[in-house]
Amino acid sequence: MKIKIPFNIALGITTEVLFALSIILAAFLICLALMLKT
């Protein structure tokens, strides 16, 4: 249990950062689509 909590926190932080990066990636795809359209 003592090992599990820091491990879970590290995985939790990674998940949250990946979520933020997925938002950036989705925005990039919108930019790309708009640029190709124009």
């Binding site: 599990k4 909590i5 879970n8 926190i9 995985l11 939790g12 932080i13 998940t15 949250e16 950062v17 979520f19 933020a20 990066l21 938002i23 950036i24 989705a26 925005a27 990039f28 919108i30 930019c31 790309l32 708009l34 640029m35 124009t38």
Partner: protein, 500 residues
């Protein structure tokens, strides 16, 4: 019939207010130490004066109003709203003494902007402000973002029931752990963990870009505090544009998004329930509204061909959008560029994003994602009722940590707060127009102040009318506390005059 407040009401409010003021005063020890260590003796003295003033007022209040009674709901709400005003008045003292603010009102404006995590500024010659004062500007954002009461709860307030009432009064209506003081401490754990990681990341980029290590860590810590607490102050007058660095901008985007996530959600993800991030109504709504508002902004920018390359559109368009949506207010374009280079469609996209905000129980302001999600679900429920046969039973649920049945009181509460924010945005815009500013500019600045964002299209200057400064201060204060505490305070004064 309205009842006149009792002396005991005033004593209870005064006692807890005094405790919070002492807590606030003690936070000034940090800039005093920074001033002494960095050899900035005069700035350190400014903070010693501020610290002494806070301690004197705090101790007088706790002695005069000493009580062992716990707070009731009304007293808790009033103590919170007055605490934020006291924080502004006391936090502005060292700022004003620095000589970088033209008047005490300007210093109060920046102090409220800091505590309410807005980011609008009236400071003069920011690039030559002492490290000590600059650090204080960012520290008050950190304190305000966490919640002034959270700071006091973590260390000073013992009564759990009174503590919870003040916690709710500060627009934090969710208890992460059963004990509100443990909740406050968990909020600190998340913030400190990210503070270490975020500062290291930003400082590393700074060092690689050629900054001196001490300077890089100072900038890293300041920018992290203002980004995670969705504030928007920066150590230099050019804001994030000063760094001219794509990695720096990317890291701040990630920090801003992390700051816009509900602390309760952080808790569940950190405890191993990682799927919650993808099921939660707030994160889903955030993802959708960010994409929709960014599409509007990007469409507007491509109309005028403001940024002809994909990366420029992302760096400029998306950065301002995410800064607006999370309520941060970091800018990588100058205020004047918004009006000259951005189309009206893009500006409307930014205004909508500012008006929406991040998650509840996060450091952001504005309407917030849970309310938007609940209203959308209610709309869906009503549409289903019309389409389905009359006998059909329509039950709408949403996922926020657990499955929650969509009940009328939830929808009513979400709609009321949304309506209050919308009215507030419009009233502020009317004030701007009264002083001769164009409609779109007025709405932009008013939404930015009331939603605690901090993006500026150029209205916020020392030369703007004092009445408009006071309007924005009021908007920042009431917007941060989500109105209820402020309405209770107004009601308290009405009761004191008209009550029997």
């Amino acid at each position: 019939m309205i009842l006149k407040p009792r002396l005991q009401d005033i004593k209870n409010i005064g006692y807890y207010l005094g405790k919070i003021i002492i807590g606030l005063g003690l936070t000034m020890v940090v800039p005093v130490i920074i001033g002494l260590v960095s050899g900035e003796i005069n700035p350190a003295l400014d903070f010693i004066i501020g610290l002494e003033t806070a301690l004197v007022f705090g101790l007088i209040l706790t002695k005069l109003c000493f009580t062992e009674e716990d707070l009731n709901w009304m007293q808790g709400m009033i103590a919170v709203s007055l605490s934020w005003l006291a924080a502004m008045l006391l936090g502005a003292i060292p700022l004003y003494l620095s000589g970088h603010w033209k008047s005490y009102l300007d210093a109060c404006f920046d102090a409220m902007s800091g505590f309410a995590t807005t980011g609008l500024i009236l400071v003069q010659d920011l690039d030559h402000l002492s490290y000590t004062h600059n650090f204080w500007r960012h520290l008050i954002m950190f304190i305000g973002g966490q919640g002034i009461v959270i700071v006091a709860l973590s260390f000073f307030v013992k009564g759990l029931s009174g503590a919870f009432k003040m916690y709710v009064g500060e627009a934090r209506d969710e208890r992460i752990l059963p004990n509100v003081i443990h909740t406050a401490r968990f909020i600190w754990l998340v913030s400190i963990t990210y503070f270490i990681l975020g500062t290291l990341a930003l400082a590393s980029v700074g060092i690689f870009s050629g900054m001196k290590p001490v300077n890089a860590f100072f900038h890293g810590a300041c920018v992290f505090m203002a980004a995670f607490d969705t504030g928007g102050f920066a150590p230099q007058s050019q804001n994030i544009l000063y760094y001219h660095s794509l990695p720096f901008e990317m890291i701040t985007i990630v920090i801003m998004i992390l700051g816009a996530i509900n602390f309760k959600l952080h808790y569940h993800i950190w405890m191993g329930r990682r799927k919650e991030l993808f099921k939660n109504i707030e994160t889903r709504t955030l993802f959708i509204t960010v994409m929709v508002t960014f599409f509007i902004v990007a469409l507007g920018l491509t109309q005028l061909n403001t940024y002809p390359k994909v990366m420029m559109l992302l760096r400029k368009g998306f950065y301002q959008l995410i800064s607006a949506h999370t309520g941060t207010g970091y800018q990588t374009v100058y205020a004047a560029q918004f009006m000259r280079e951005w189309s009206n469609l893009s500006l409307v996209g930014i205004i909508i994003a500012m008006a929406l905000g991040g998650a509840v129980c996060s450091t952001t302001g504005a309407i917030k994602m849970l309310r938007i999600g609940v209203i959308f679900k209610a709309l869906l429920e009503d549409t289903k009722r019309i389409i389905l046969p009359e006998r059909a039973v329509v039950v709408q649920k949403f996922h926020h940590i657990k499955e929650i049945l969509l009940e009328d009181n939830l929808v009513r509460s979400a709609l009321l707060i949304t309506l209050a924010y919308l009215l507030f945005y419009v009233l502020g815009a009317l004030m701007g127009m009264f002083f001769g500013y164009p409609f779109l500019n007025s709405l932009f600045e008013s939404t930015s102040a009331a939603a605690n964002v901090g993006l500026s299209c150029g209205i916020t200057k020392t030369t703007m009318p004092a009445a408009l400064k006071l309007t924005y201060i009021f908007q920042m204060w009431a917007g941060r506390l989500e109105f209820m505490s402020v309405f209770t305070l107004i009601g308290f004064f009405v009761a004191a005059i008209k009550g029997k």
